[in-house]
Subunit: 362 residues, 2 copies
């Protein structure tokens, strides 16, 4: 058991088994006498690592054959540009659903390459944030795509339903909820996710891309930002971030050993329920500003009614090994990010600490 | 001592001390109980790592204060686009020196954003590759910049002199020779280098950028490709590749412990001299296709006159723990990449093996 539990929003906790394997293999990967970070990306050793990671991801997410899987350098912010650069063409309008800090960033980048229609955005009812149901959205019929952020890490808002966009491809930034719960990949045109929350370390982004969406990008697109080039070269157009890819592979193998996405989803549901139940139980003390139907399973955002107590809360938590619970600098408050790698016993400790904190300060 | 010596061109050998430190700290970075890959990029822990790496690089290269230092996601290929996207403006012409595979790739990308003038390119004299001296170059007076590749990893060609470009900024792709020998940073407008040869692992690229070159990039430039945005945010516009940055920092600290660039340059010169001397000593058996004045200190490329013997050579070397000596797929032959982290005793073993191989097969 680890000494501390890390509730950071990302880069975030990595399974202990993964770190131990990476540690054991650091100077001698599978009897080669070399670290995997020292091996050429075009050698058979790294190719095996890369292909196994893709195969495991395909198995875990049941990715259909007509989808490409890419492991690209950089974070999800690269995709804020790549999506419009590759999907705008004859159609120069895209619909965006704006639900928080990250979808707003995606909107700002897309506006540079075409027309963005904000088809829906977060609203507030009784001071609680929610997203209007789809019947109230103003989708564009001829949109190149619809983009949304199923989980907003800073705002703690999550969709627990999938938008229906008919023939218009649905594009999802799943950086903070990929592999958290079972999804139907066929519902999406593109899924992308920076790895540093649920798939290991920062520096690599997974893109799952329906093959019919691959076409020539806008003419001034940098070569590395072309889905066409990247799929033709299987993410090996240039040297990929090999070590981050390797760590992603170890996390995916670990997830398979946990029983896969359905099994981890059971755990994730319990973790989130325990925390929200604790907040509800002490609603005079703790405050969640998101409507119950939109509360994130990954990033449990809450405030102390008496904000002066927040530093005391954070310090007390740290003394018990419950680390990095401070909310994002733009939102303040407390945020418990409880991705796959955060063990249930860490959440149990946090829930106990929260109850105890009310007792001592309520 | 390591079991094997890795002569891979990149990703390449990493100092054993660095791997051991990374291994020791994998589950508990400096008493935090967490891996550095699990820590937030905006937390004080990673900030310290990031700032120390920059400080060490500045010290090692004596980087003047009017230069920014960036650690960006991705490889040097990102810079093939970033350089023209940020430096083309009123001036839409750039001079490129074409000396091998990598400078050709840089040319191809730049052509998409402006006019490229090939001011000089590799020539051959007595079947040996060389670069014409600068008096034979056709530089453009009003060029936005001059780009060259001081060392070509695939071709084994290196400049041992610095082009003089007056007021026109000189841009250098130093991916394979950064920190190999002392340079005067002020001779350059921009220096860039993917880390996977001399600064650790793939996934991060160092950019050293003179501040007067920062301006608005071409309008369609993705936000992450803007030097202006990246310098304003000190490479933290989005989540940087934190673990690759950390490993780079460990390598830089190791290099300081070796006595810095001047000290490692002494070793590097000895390593290269030993190999080229062995080739010269057996010129009826081994063949280097580069003129002596342009032979790379980092990538010693050679052929066996009897090419049928090459597989035997590579297999025999591997049996002695001399790994990854196969030449690049486009060039064939043998390539010994002997970056900073390849110890001199590894080169000594290789030289002995080469002598022995001639004895048994010559």
């Amino acid at each position: 058991m680890r000494k501390v539990y890390n509730f950071n929003a990302g880069p975030a906790m990595v399974p202990e088994e993964v770190l131990k394997q990476a540690q054991a293999e650091m100077l001698d990967w599978q009897g080669t006498g070399m670290s995997i970070m020292e091996l050429g990306h075009r050698g058979h050793e790294f190719k095996e690592v890369a292909e196994q990671a893709e195969a495991d991801l395909r198995e875990l997410m049941e990715i259909p054959k007509n989808y490409h899987v890419l492991f690209l350098a950089g974070g999800a912010t690269t995709q804020f540009a790549m999506v419009p650069l590759n999907l705008f063409g004859e159609k120069k309008v895209a619909d965006y659903i704006e639900t928080g800090v990250w979808s707003k960033k995606a909107v700002a980048e897309a506006k540079r390459y075409g027309t963005v229609n904000i088809a829906a955005h977060t609203e507030h009812r009784n001071h609680l944030a929610y997203v209007p149901t789809q019947e109230h959205w103003s989708l564009t019929k001829e949109a190149a795509y619809v983009h949304y952020t199923p989980n907003e890490t800073i705002d703690g808002i999550e969709f627990h339903w999938v938008p229906q966009t008919g023939d218009v491809p649905l594009v999802a930034d799943m950086t903070s909820n990929i592999l958290s719960s079972p999804i139907n990949v066929s519902d999406y045109g593109i899924i992308y996710a920076g790895a540093q929350k649920n798939v290991g370390q920062a520096g690599v982004t997974i893109v799952i891309l329906r093959e019919d969406l691959i076409k020539d990008p806008l003419p001034y697109t940098p070569t590395l930002y072309s889905y066409k080039t990247q799929t033709e070269h299987h993410s090996f157009y240039n040297t990929p971030p090999t070590y981050s890819w390797y760590i992603a592979g170890l996390v995916l193998a670990w997830l398979k050993r946990q029983g896969g996405v359905k099994a981890i989803y059971e755990v994730n549901q319990r973790k989130a329920k325990k925390l929200y139940a604790m907040i509800n139980q002490h609603k005079d003390f703790y405050l969640c500003r998101v409507e119950p139907d939109y509360r994130s399973m990954e990033n449990v955002m809450f405030y102390l009614h008496d904000e002066k107590l927040t530093p005391l809360f954070l310090e007390g938590a740290e003394r018990q090994g419950l680390m990095n619970l401070r909310g994002h600098r733009v939102s303040g408050g407390v945020r418990a990010s409880i991705y796959n790698a955060v063990p249930e016993e860490g959440v149990d400790l946090l829930v106990n600490f929260m109850a105890d904190f009310v007792k001592r300060n309520g």
